[in-house]
């Protein structure tokens, strides 16, 4: 096989998510491309958890609908997912849960019974280790040497000691041997050789944001826990000591953004991360960052709202919220990564832009991007990172006559030089009231207008460096998709499917959303005859933005707001419908 999709399902609390990650690592190390996405309800025990892993010899951008192996850790998993299985798929189950027969399925199925629970108890393991048996069995079903997963188990349980490592390896090996002994002719899912040459990382979106942040020199983060940004917290807290940074858990998101603003005034690169509800609490603080002109990075991980919504599912409902959030008018920058490499690179960019223009910069991520395990060349994350702290003055550059104006109106781009508290001769007040050049409160008409203009004029300067959308696919296409953020992967895969049906398509993908690149977009979209907007929200927020800035109205829309990422097949199907 060139590509195999594997699912493991069962009750929450049975190590299903970590199994997916371990499988990804195993096959990434062997030179395959991998991607894992998880689905789970917002609770800790019980409920149905699912992880889907695609392993392929060639690069790919998203999952597709074919499922080749289903590992069922309970009966419910089969009931829920059996219709997704392709003809000839393998169902790996424990006969203790349920005895499945060929007649239970509408399609031809290969039933692979493995006594998961018995193997675990033979090795005196904890019942939750059934997933480990299944992992060993999976490696055998895919035709790979056991050694591949052995090293991953070693690394996974490194902190837990040799005994735990040995036990896990023994249990996985028993699963592996069970297949090798009892299913000797089972080679239908054997993978062809992986073709990746260089080392790849297996990393989720939030971790990529975290790596980007620390590579950019992040020194302070105040993040109140909320799905789907919790792994940013874990990453930063784990590395706080060695990277010499401070992660603080604030009492709420209001405190979080105000702490981050304080740290930024103090002179360090700082960030917050949250989801829609937490960001709603931060909005007044955002406006504060606006008038104080402090650099600030905000990772806004989207999930479906309103209110608590569906905490563990994905969506793209906060684009217009991020653009319009905050009372009063002030500039901001909004970026939205479409994949793991962009999550890293745009985070690095965000810190530089924040410093360069002294504005809040958003990274709009989402649950799908943040919690999926992606693979990407390690070299991408190792490249030298250029840091630009913008107009941050050095103490010795400050005039000794006390004339320094932190909010000087004499600028070519609206950005004034910034001193740091404690610098001799750099005195100013970061004042949330409208202020003069040193930060003293003012209500003078001309001065107030000039300050407002100064701040807003940054947008013009930012627009000059703003990124045009990226075009993927064929120049002369019948269909042009327009999208932003993480729907990129499924659309790229949908384009392949359309191509195989002889339909040419392309994607105009936005990672830079605000200030809106009006000129470039007008140029790109004007000549196109068939535009299709793809978004995970109900109101087509990007299409709205495009219309607002260019006058171009996109009438064909593929929208989804059920918390799920689109499958490429669904996009193709919905395209055909509108034809």
């Amino acid at each position: 096989m060139q590509s195999v999709t594997w699912k493991m399902g069962g009750e929450a609390g049975y190590g299903i998510m970590s199994s997916g990650t371990m499988l990804c690592r195993t096959f990434s190390r062997l030179g395959y491309h991998v991607l894992a996405t998880n689905e789970y309800p917002s609770l800790i025990r019980g409920g149905h958890n699912l992880i889907t892993v695609r392993i392929a010899t060639q690069e790919f951008a998203s999952l597709n609908k074919d499922v080749h192996i289903l590992v069922a850790l309970n009966k419910e998993t089969v009931d829920l997912h059996k219709e997704e299985l392709t003809k000839g798929a393998i169902l790996l189950f424990d006969p203790k849960d349920h005895t499945w027969q060929a007649t239970d399925f509408s399609k031809e199925m290969q039933l692979v019974a493995v006594p998961l629970a018995d193997i675990v108890s033979e090795h005196k393991g904890d019942p939750v280790m059934r997933n480990t048996v299944a992992l060993g069995a999976t490696v055998a079903l895919l035709g790979t040497d056991f050694s591949a997963i052995e090293s991953v188990i070693r690394d996974q349980f490194k902190r837990k000691g040799q005994e735990v490592i040995d036990n896990n390896i023994a249990i996985a090996k028993a699963g592996y041997d069970h297949i090798k002994t009892n299913f000797t002719n089972q080679s239908s899912m054997f993978l062809s050789k992986g073709e990746k040459k260089e080392p790849f990382l297996v990393i989720n979106g939030s971790e990529a944001v975290g790596v980007g942040a620390v590579r950019a020199g992040l020194k302070f983060a105040a993040i109140y826990p909320m799905t789907p940004i919790n792994s940013v917290i874990t990453f930063l807290a784990d590395h706080a000591k060695e990277l010499q940074l401070v992660y603080k858990q604030p009492e709420d998101e209001i405190a979080g953004i105000n702490m981050a603003i304080g740290a930024s005034i103090g002179g360090v690169r700082s960030m917050v991360a949250t989801s829609g509800g937490g960001f709603a609490l931060m909005v007044e603080g955002l406006s504060l960052a606006g008038i104080l002109e402090v650099p600030l990075v905000i990772d806004l991980g989207m999930r479906p709202g309103p209110a608590t919504g569906m905490p563990t599912w994905t969506g793209q409902g906060e684009l217009q919220f991020a653009i319009h959030a905050g009372h009063g008018e002030f500039p901001r920058i909004i970026l939205a990564p479409g994949d793991i490499q962009e999550a890293y690179s745009l985070t690095v960019d965000a810190f530089n832009l924040a410093d360069r223009y002294q504005v809040p910069v958003f990274i709009l991520t989402d649950k799908y991007l943040n919690e999926s395990q992606w693979c990407a060349p390690k070299s991408h994350f190792q490249k030298d990172v250029a840091t630009n702290r913008g107009k941050l003055v050095k103490e010795e550059e400050l005039a000794t006559d006390g004339s320094f104006g932190r909010y000087s109106l004499e600028t070519d781009d609206g950005v004034s030089s910034r001193s740091l508290p404690g610098m001799k001769n750099g005195f100013y007040i970061a004042n949330s009231y409208e202020h003069d050049e040193q930060g003293y409160t003012t209500e003078l008409a001309d001065l107030a207008a000039a300050m407002a203009q100064k701040r807003l004029s940054k947008l013009v300067a930012i627009q000059k460096v703003g990124g045009a959308p990226t075009v993927y696919g064929e120049r002369d296409s019948e269909i042009t998709f327009v999208a932003w953020g993480s729907t990129k992967g499924p659309i790229l895969e949908a384009m392949k499917l359309l191509g195989s049906k002889g339909k040419k398509s392309k994607l105009i993908h936005f990672t830079w959303l605000f200030p809106f690149p009006t000129e470039e977009v007008t140029k790109l979209l004007s000549p196109v005859t068939r535009l299709v907007d793809v978004e995970l929200n109900t109101t087509a927020q990007l299409a709205f933005l495009i219309r607002e800035h260019t006058g171009i109205s996109i009438t064909e829309k593929i929208l989804q707001c059920n918390g799920r990422m689109l499958y490429p097949e669904e996009i193709v199907e919905r395209i055909s419908k509108v034809t």
């Binding site: 190390r29 690394d155 080392p199 990382l201 297996v202 971790e207 790596v211 620390v214 590579r215 950019a216 020199g217 020194k219 302070f220 105040a222 590395h239 706080a240 000591k241 060695e242 990277l243 010499q244 940074l245 401070v246 604030p250 009492e251 209001i254 405190a255 979080g256 105000n258 702490m259 981050a260 603003i261 304080g262 740290a263 930024s264 005034i265 103090g266 002179g267 360090v268 690169r269 700082s270 504060l288 104080l292 390690k378 994350f381 190792q382 990172v385 840091t387 740091l420 508290p421 404690g422 001799k424 750099g426 005195f427 007040i429 970061a430 004042n431 949330s432 009231y433 003293y440 409160t441």
Partner: protein
């Protein structure tokens, strides 16, 4: 180098407080305290709340931030973590830090950052022209409580004590020398200092005047009170009525929130390099 005096903080703005406002006494005391401690315009950081008290910023030449109503403490903690060598003081009001920002006071106390918070306690919202504040005493008539306040007032001292503040004191805006001394001690204390200052609002409070306070106030230390016991501090902090104690109620040494941060053992965060030295090590967990 010219020595630092109260005049060092002069700006070209004159106070806009009502003549006789208790904020004048707090302002004077603060300038004296800073000067006595050798903290000049470039050596400290003031974070102001929103309210009459926060207006002080315009006539106080020292690095500072005036953020949102109620949010002075989070900003202060951010600054302190970015530059833990910088003395940080919050100028806040009873509405600002017990009403809008009450949660932040509790959590700051729990963390124990080396920050001093000076609460201008006038029982009213001065800047919004005289509504009841969280410290308004029962029966106190204000614009928002025309028949008299009914709620149990928040006591900043007992609140600070339970939440974990390591220095708790109360001063009086009408006693500049005494207040200056308390401020110096609060600022010098390594840890979170809560200094509640009884501040007559001459415009919106005709009850709690300078005279009203003077009749009732007494100095804790003159009675031989030693501020080293939390239970005793509670008892004293609960005294209110004919006799009202001022002075230091409680003092304790506990590691500050900066001291427990492994990244803050040396130079301030702001001076650390931006680069990651061992990128390979950082990425190894993702292979």
């Amino acid at each position: 180098m010219p020595s630092i005096t109260a005049d060092s903080f002069k700006t070209s703005f004159l106070p806009t407080w009502c003549p006789g406002c208790g904020d004048f006494g707090i302002w004077m005391s603060l300038k004296n305290a800073l000067a006595n401690l050798g903290i000049g315009s470039d050596d400290g950081f003031l974070v102001y709340g929103i309210g009459c008290h926060g207006n002080m910023q315009d006539w106080m030449k020292i690095y500072g931030a005036r953020g949102l109503h109620g949010r002075a403490l989070p900003v202060a903690q951010g600054i302190k973590l970015a530059n833990h060598k910088l003395p940080v003081i919050c100028i806040t009001g009873d509405g600002d830090c017990l009403g809008e920002g009450g949660n932040h006071l509790i959590h700051a106390a729990k963390r124990n950052p080396d920050i001093t918070v000076i609460i201008h306690d006038n029982q009213v919202y001065g800047l919004t022209t005289g509504q009841a504040s969280p410290t308004a005493q029962p029966g106190f008539k204000t614009k928002s409580t025309p028949t008299g306040a009914t709620d149990t007032p928040i006591n900043p001292l007992t609140l600070g004590l339970t939440a974990g503040a390591t220095f708790i004191a109360r001063g009086f805006a009408g006693d500049t020398p005494g207040l200056t001394d308390l401020m110096q001690r609060a600022i010098s204390h390594k840890g979170f200092s809560v200094l509640d200052v009884l501040q007559p609002c001459v415009t919106f409070d005709k009850v709690h005047t300078y005279g009203w306070y003077r009749q009732r106030l007494y100095q804790l230390d003159k009675e031989g009170y030693v501020p080293d016991n939390k239970i005793k501090a509670f008892e004293k902090a609960l005294e209110w009525g004919d006799k009202i104690p001022i002075g230091i109620f409680y003092k304790e040494d506990r590691p500050t929130s900066e001291e427990v941060e492994p990244a803050l053992t040396g130079a301030p965060l702001k001076d650390l390099p931006l680069t990651v030295s061992n990128i390979d090590g950082l990425l190894s967990e993702f292979i």
